[in-house]
């Protein structure tokens, strides 16, 4: 794939995000887009955001459940980048008008105390390098029509990243069994999705290890201070104006936000 093409696709996706409209998926016009090229487009998109003075605050993992991996026919999860303008205050407001067709997922976020450099990273090393875990809600908002895409499409689109809300309670990872964290995602006080954290690759630390190993192949590493969303524990739920969204997690606390006009 030519550099010009990468820039064109990245700009196309950035424009869709900025103008809050869904667009035809990239692979319709570029059927040759593969996973490797798609990450090259994502890198270009990230570079363009950084040029607009946005800063990377962390990363996110996607397709971390067996069901989603089977649905997309992949063996490995995917990743994207979180920027400073994606952060919402806990129990703050999400303006629906700034989104296209948002969905919410409950996740566990890892705050790293040390750098992690793959390959060969396992869950235990991730836990040893993790300073805190935090309850989180991720708002995903694919730039594609009807939230439908192939694997390269979603990778190019920064793994559908849109917003993230972190809870205010920090928990040391050695004080809790992170495999068995029960959680309830509720909307307007009604439980909508219920699951346990093993839904993420058997253990959320496995998702962080997978990320470190994927970055290691490119000579990059996870850095101390970064906050990483380990991937959805629950199914994604559509949200709308007026919704009060909350996740409660066993031993980790709660996190929430309200959707306004």
């Amino acid at each position: 794939m030519q550099i010009a093409e990468k820039k064109t696709i990245a700009q196309y996706l950035l424009d869709a995000e900025r103008e809050r409209r869904e667009v035809v998926r990239v692979t319709v016009d570029y059927p040759e887009l593969n996973v490797e090229n798609a990450y090259a487009v994502q890198e270009e998109l990230v570079r363009m955001k950084c040029e607009e003075n946005l800063s990377i605050v962390g990363m996110k993992m996607g397709l971390t459940s067996r069901a989603k991996m089977e649905q997309m026919g992949v063996e490995e999860p995917i990743y994207g980048y979180l920027f400073n303008n994606m952060l919402l205050e806990n129990y703050g407001e999400l303006s629906f008008g700034t989104c296209i067709h948002p969905k919410v997922e409950a996740e566990i976020a890892f705050i790293l105390g040390k750098d992690i450099e793959g390959p060969g990273i396992t869950g235990a090393q991730v836990l040893a390098a993790t300073q805190y875990v935090v309850p989180a809600l991720e708002i995903i908002d694919s730039r594609y029509e009807n939230f439908r895409f192939t694997l390269p499409d979603v990778i190019a689109d920064n793994a559908s990243a849109s917003r993230v809300v972190f809870g205010n309670s920090l928990t040391r990872p050695d004080l809790i069994d992170l495999e068995l964290v029960g959680m309830i995602l509720s909307i307007n006080g009604k439980a909508r999705e219920m699951a346990a954290s093993a839904a993420v690759l058997g253990h959320p630390a496995h998702a962080i290890a997978a990320l470190a190993n994927m970055l290691g192949r490119k000579g990059e590493k996870l850095k101390a201070g970064q906050i990483i969303l380990a991937g959805a524990v629950t199914e994604a739920v559509r949200i709308d104006i007026g919704d009060i969204v909350q996740a409660k997690m066993d031993g980790l606390g709660d996190v929430g936000f309200t959707v306004v006009d």
């Binding site: 495999e179 068995l180 964290v181 029960g182 959680m183 309830i184 439980a191 219920m194 346990a196 066993d250």
Partner: protein, 263 residues
């Protein structure tokens, strides 16, 4: 209820017992008697249980079914149901179940309550249940159906002892005051792979709410939940079909693990 109806209910109870004995499923009762009511279905269940206790079986507890929103929607109902646990249904943790004990088994992970006080409805609340509970255990329930292809409507499963099969309890009792059952995570593994997950709240919002429902439901028949009884409070995730050679493991946060295999 007239003699004719009683005769039909006895006949259905006999057919279900025979289906279980001979491991040959029968057509849904509601296909033959479309007007079969929930009350009549519980009569059929009780007739079947009476036959079993007459032949030497002992009631050791109860199970609550249809406790998830998804299951209730599937059967088009707005409340759970219940069945009886008999002494022959208990399987030791870690053991292997032979095919001659099952018909079309599925596996569920849930929380078992063991009572230290009797609970007599009506008006039993969640708090009453917590106070009457001696301890809780992680459990695997092996549900089974004597109805061909699991093609059940609510009266079919009720008549069939709420599709009870076998159950396995974990070995480490935990005092209920030490855990938040609402948020206790549950993971069901098949052959070492996570097959699905859930949380205590998946059973009517809180597993103890299910036990309270049962105590209140049983009061309609003037029955109390008894001290020492095992109560399976309801599945925390979708039931998974068990194939020959499968190994299942359920882990529940703060409660430990329970295992079973199928020969």
């Amino acid at each position: 209820m007239n003699q004719q109806t009683v005769g039909i209910l006895e006949q259905y109870a006999g057919e279900l017992a025979q289906a279980e004995r001979e491991r040959t499923p029968i057509a849904a009762l509601t296909e033959r008697s479309s007007t079969l009511t929930v009350e009549e279905a519980y009569q059929i269940q009780l007739l079947g249980i009476q036959e079993k206790t007459k032949s030497g079986h002992r009631i050791v507890g109860k199970k609550i079914g249809l406790t998830s929103h998804a299951m209730q929607q599937l059967l088009g109902v707005d409340q759970p149901d219940y069945g009886h646990l008999l002494d022959g249904m208990a399987v030791e943790n870690g053991s292997t179940i032979t095919q001659d004990r099952i018909l079309q088994a599925k596996v569920e992970g849930e929380i078992a309550f063991i009572l230290k006080k009797d609970l007599q409805g009506p008006n039993v609340t969640l708090l009453d249940v917590l106070q009457a509970t001696d301890y809780v255990l992680p459990a695997i329930e092996i549900v089974d159906s004597r109805i061909a292809g699991w093609k059940i409507k609510l009266p079919d499963t009720i008549a069939d002892n709420a599709s009870s099969g076998l159950y396995v309890l974990g070995g480490k009792p935990v005092r209920i005051e030490d855990i938040d059952l609402e948020l206790a995570g549950m993971v069901l593994y098949r052959n070492g792979q996570v097959i699905n997950t859930g949380v205590g709240a998946a059973a009517l919002g809180h597993p103890a709410t299910c036990v309270a429902w049962l105590a209140n439901k049983l009061s309609e028949f003037s029955i109390a939940l008894k001290s020492g009884e095992v109560i399976l409070s309801g599945a925390l995730s979708a039931a998974v079909p068990a194939e020959s050679g499968d190994h299942f493991s359920v882990r529940i946060a703060h409660l430990g693990e329970v295992n079973v295999s199928f020969a």
